[in-house]
Symmetry: C2
Subunit: 495 residues, 2 copies
């Protein structure tokens, strides 16, 4: 007779196949699908999530989990079982009707938001956002009751298992102590942006060829992935077929290029997840913040560093006719320029955390019932003034309506961006300490030891260890914001 | 309480959503997927068909079908119920193990065939083909027992409901009476092929722009579909998002162009299926032969006709630098050139039926147990000699190993190509009779009345009527091969 653990692995393999289809159909929706296909696609994807929820929460899953806990398992199997239990509990505690209602309200809000944002229509948007917040609060309460946490923390845990508001308050509290001043210092002391080249057309075909060359340099495996175009860049697909996207602007090439480096960081994590655990929860990426740490390691730690820019400078000059006279020095100044602005996705790495802390504070209060949707614009403006010295009064489009995350109820996601930035700095620092010669290798354009280190310390482990264990094994300590501070001081103030 | 018919519509809607995902993931596999993605994709698609089979054959489907037959339904609902019953019976009479075993054997045979064909390795191929034939025979027997038909007819009915070998023998028997002689006459009397232009490079980008212009001319709705590239051209996707493909050869443009016109015929049928029946069996295309009749109507009846070529001639000269001096006369001679050869997919419309009849005769004997896999090469060579005067002895690659159809057990499919050609000729003739002015409209490049006629007579009906009813309503009679004969005589012998 098949033991319960084995039955569970079969069930989770089946679920992973549904996730495969969802990933590919979702990627297609963002990159290939003509407009007329959206309704049928939305329905097909919703049907798939309902079936996924049905299969995962069958009563036999719960029974097998109980029985498997008594079976003789090795450490890996036990870690896999822990992840299975987590996915099951996360899904089973929600009634199917709430899952469906939230999906529908989120989809409605997101669809309307695309135009409402353009129209700066806060009044229209908030009508759709209210039910999303209401349903998210219901979800949070149900989750919190099981976890014994605050409602917000229960949502945060969906993205970052084990993380709490209390820890975030400490981490982000630390940041708010020194970051605003550091930002001011950088802005005051940095050289002015170099004048742009007279000819400023960078044909998409040239940018694409450059992007693919840089992906190759970063060991992206083209037999197991693709690069395409979408309105909002992302990394999707499945580990054996990773789909990354970018968007090109023929008047400016750095945004697409740095975006590709960022998504390649996500992609290499996915491509190097443990193949012998494929289709099992233990074979998945550890968490949203760890995923983001890999993209930011590649983009911020490596990609925007002087030695890396030195390596790709000739490639840029070679591929882009209009940039063939760009000096290395001007390239570095462009890539490392700091300029606080209204838009999160355009922010440099020094101002970025301010955007995140602001959103974290608002969404936590919102989910915990301390503020209402009506209060968001004023809170947003207050915090923008405080953290970045900028006003968004009346400008909803570039203020609280700029992001997609809240429209479909992804509360708890935002903090993972800045957690990822801090993890990335800590990992890069640990790698440099453990591999004294890595700096020399990077300088001559040999990134092999960098990727080997990431593989051995992060990628190959999948979800084998909790986040804190994973990070302690890799760096000797749990998350410590000092490495992020040190990185920013070093890069932007030369300390 | 929900009545049984309504429950069935909900179940079939769910199934159509799974079919949507299968169609998109299948399209992606042929057009976008990097090589490394194939194993996981194959597993995901297989899982999806198993789930589809599970849901369709749940015992409640059978109970609802029985109850719905007693409910008060209008004519459309009753026609929908008939289709539901057919899909259910087709699926339910097969044990799940046979479905899976055939899928695995077919997938193994097809995968290996791709290389074995290149290597002309009949010995290796036949080892994989034997289990496919064996499982197809088992399937055919089970189906035949329920239908009270011969085994082969039971498979034929999966593609062409209502068609029998007896009818095919009459139809194809008629063809074999006059086609070989007609072919000889055409070959003997046609002018030699015009000399090719000195410059023979037709850049892919120019060919693609031309293809898209011609698709527009044929009213392909680009908000509900796409054109891409694949090794084997096909029409896939879903009615609101139809994906057609072609393959370009920079040394020759007509093959890709005619292929696009062909696939556009399939696409317009799909795009114009009745929207109010979307997701229900009655809303699907009627049959494989009727589908093929729409692509061949567009390619053979319209696309290769003198007036149509006259309309697109300036577009060709304008888009293709290397064809800017091509005369209309030379274009027509190229497009209407007849030349018997070994390869079915390269065949002109006069030799094509010979390729089909040969395959039909062999696959029928194979499924009915009258011949064995070992006998195929000799039978193939005999029939090629008889029908086309060509030998394939020892040349398996360009003989019995050239097609994909048998590798995955799609026995019964081949006849639909020639049935489609005959339906197309009959439909075109009926349209001309019913719309005396249509020829004038086509001549000036106005295809609106053509598409309106197809829409009113074929597209808008989905699976509302059995094939014979549909064709009788459209043309006044059931399938009659004389219209195909008349078409060939008219076009190729000027009679």
């Amino acid at each position: 007779m098949m033991n319960a653990y084995h039955s569970l692995t079969e069930r989770f393999k089946r679920l992973s196949r549904l996730e495969h289809l969802s990933a590919i159909a979702g990627w297609d929706m963002q990159t290939m699908m003509p407009s007329g296909g959206s309704q049928a696609r939305g329905e097909a994807l919703a049907e798939l999530s309902v079936m996924h929820h049905e299969i995962l929460t069958q009563s036999s899953t719960g029974e097998w989990l109980d029985r498997a806990a008594q079976e003789s398992l090795d450490d890996d199997q036990r870690a896999n079982l822990t992840e299975m239990q987590r996915h099951y509990t996360d899904a089973a505690l929600l009634p199917a009707e709430l899952v469906e209602a939230k999906a529908l309200a989120g989809s409605r809000c997101e669809q309307a938001w695309r135009q409402q944002r353009i129209d700066n229509d806060w009044h229209g948007f908030k009508q759709n956002l209210k039910p999303v917040v209401e349903l998210s609060r219901q979800e949070a309460k149900l989750r919190a009751a099981v976890q014994g946490s605050t409602p917000y923390d229960a949502l945060l845990n969906l993205y970052e298992p084990g993380m709490t508001s209390e820890q975030l308050d400490t981490l982000f509290g630390d940041l708010t102590q020194w970051l605003p001043e550091l930002l001011q210092q950088v802005v005051a002391s940095q050289p002015p942006l170099p004048a742009l080249p007279a000819t400023r057309i960078f044909p998409i075909s040239q940018q694409k060829a450059l992007a693919e060359t840089v992906m190759q340099l970063l060991d992206f495996d083209v037999t197991q992935g693709r690069l395409d175009v979408s309105a909002h860049p992302f990394c999707g697909g499945v580990p054996s077929d990773v789909r990354i996207t970018t968007r090109y602007d023929s008047a400016e090439f750095l945004s697409a290029l740095m975006g590709v480096i960022h998504e390649t960081g996500h992609a290499r994590y996915e491509q190097n997840l443990p193949k012998h655990w494929a289709g099992q929860p233990i074979g998945l990426a550890r968490s949203t913040a760890i995923h983001e740490s890999q993209s930011l390691f590649m983009e911020m730690q490596l990609g925007r560093s002087q030695p890396f820019l030195q390596r790709i400078h000739p490639l840029i000059c070679q591929h882009l006719t209009a940039a063939n006279a760009l000096s290395l020095n001007d390239l570095v100044r462009q890539v490392q320029h700091v300029s606080p602005g209204l838009i999160r996705v355009d922010a440099d790495e020094v101002s970025y955390p301010a955007h995140i802390i602001l959103r974290y504070e608002i969404e936590r209060s919102l989910i915990n019932g301390e503020v209402e949707v009506e209060d968001i614009p004023e809170l947003w403006d207050d915090k923008m003034q405080r953290y970045l010295g900028l006003s968004t009064a009346g400008n909803y489009r570039d203020g609280c309506m700029q992001d997609i995350h809240w429209t479909d109820g992804s509360f708890g996601y935002f903090p993972t961006y800045t957690l990822g930035a801090m993890y990335a700095a800590q990992l890069f620092n640990a790698m440099q300490t453990q591999l004294p010669k890595v700096h020399e290798a990077i300088k001559i354009g040999d990134f092999t030891p960098v990727f080997q280190w990431l593989n051995d310390n992060i990628w190959c482990h999948g979800s084998r260890y909790p986040v804190n264990t994973l990070i302690r094994q890799a760096t000797g300590e749990i998350l410590n914001p000092r490495w992020f501070k040190q990185h920013l001081q070093h890069r932007y103030l030369g300390r």
